[in-house]
Symmetry: C2
Subunit: 183 residues, 2 copies
Amino acid sequence: MTLTPLQQEFVMHFGEMGSRWGINRTVGQIYALLFLSSEPLNAEQITDGLSISRSNTSMGLKELQSWNLVRLKHFQGDRRDYFTTPEDLWEIVRILIAERKKREIDPTLTKLRQLEMQGPAGDDYAEARIAELRELIEMMTGFYDEMEKLETERLVKLMTFGSKIAGLIDKAGGALPTLTKRS
Amino acid sequence: MTLTPLQQEFVMHFGEMGSRWGINRTVGQIYALLFLSSEPLNAEQITDGLSISRSNTSMGLKELQSWNLVRLKHFQGDRRDYFTTPEDLWEIVRILIAERKKREIDPTLTKLRQLEMQGPAGDDYAEARIAELRELIEMMTGFYDEMEKLETERLVKLMTFGSKIAGLIDKAGGALPTLTKRS
DNA sequence: CTTAAGTTTCAGAAATTTCTGAAATCACTG
DNA sequence: CAGTGATTTCAGAAATTTCTGAAACTTAAG
């Protein structure tokens, strides 16, 4: 299992970006390799394609599975697991956003609500700030839920509207809401 | 500088979430503390509020400044630097998204374009996959650029449209585009 | 039941990241 | 321009994360 120079570069890049994306180098590399492979790969192929230890591959695949980013495949008469990434890139994007929301936002929303439940703490500014943050996050996750429901076709349409968007918003909802604050 | 229990919990939470957000514990804590403080704080107040070393505070503040997440303030007759977070939460959101895009997306887009420039590498599947990924990222960043331009009022309106969004898209852009792929 | 292929777990090694205290730098004041 | 208060830098210590090899586990076949 030798990688082409193109695969090499792509895989290395994903490895380097891994830490910025909240996964580790190996996980990034495994994902990149699967992403570029037209055929599903098994753990051994990944291990030697990336020159890492077999156990590291196993950990990485487990991590990718917990992210829902890989699909399992089997072949007749071969009991090894084979892995792929979803063909449809939009599905990958949806998964990524959903998982990041789950890991990076939901816990904080829960915590903010919990803090508000504890009742007045005698620090009006902090309490107001927390409430405001909670409201903002709720608005954004509400919007996310709506986008999530849209079929890919509609999403693509929305994304390609370009500068038409502003006019659309104005036409749709009547007057602009009154502002209560200025930054 | 003693923190109230509310501040304590909030600060600790941001510290714990820090690593998931791509910053370290201290940076998360410093930010949380500033976020809840109605008054700007100087490095010493932060240092002893969080019981960390003075140099760690300095590093953390530098990091936050590189993220554009804090504002510098000065007082008459006091030459120490005081720090705050922007009052307007929407501004914070905008900054966060812009910075994450810069760190997590732009380098990859650059790399993908560079790989395509290198010309045919004799791996059709990988090449197609890379092109497809590049196109998708371009579409998404194009959409981001549009959203970025919107004033907060319009953004809020869009976000609160809820289920009206789908209908709006259909009405605005004529027929749905034909699909070329199914996942 | 035994064997063997495949996979996962886990304790410690290696690497990386974060944090500290001391020293260096900066910049204002008298 | 010396002195002082504030801040930054930096080398090493501490903590955390990642990676490995060996052992344990799982499952199917003979």
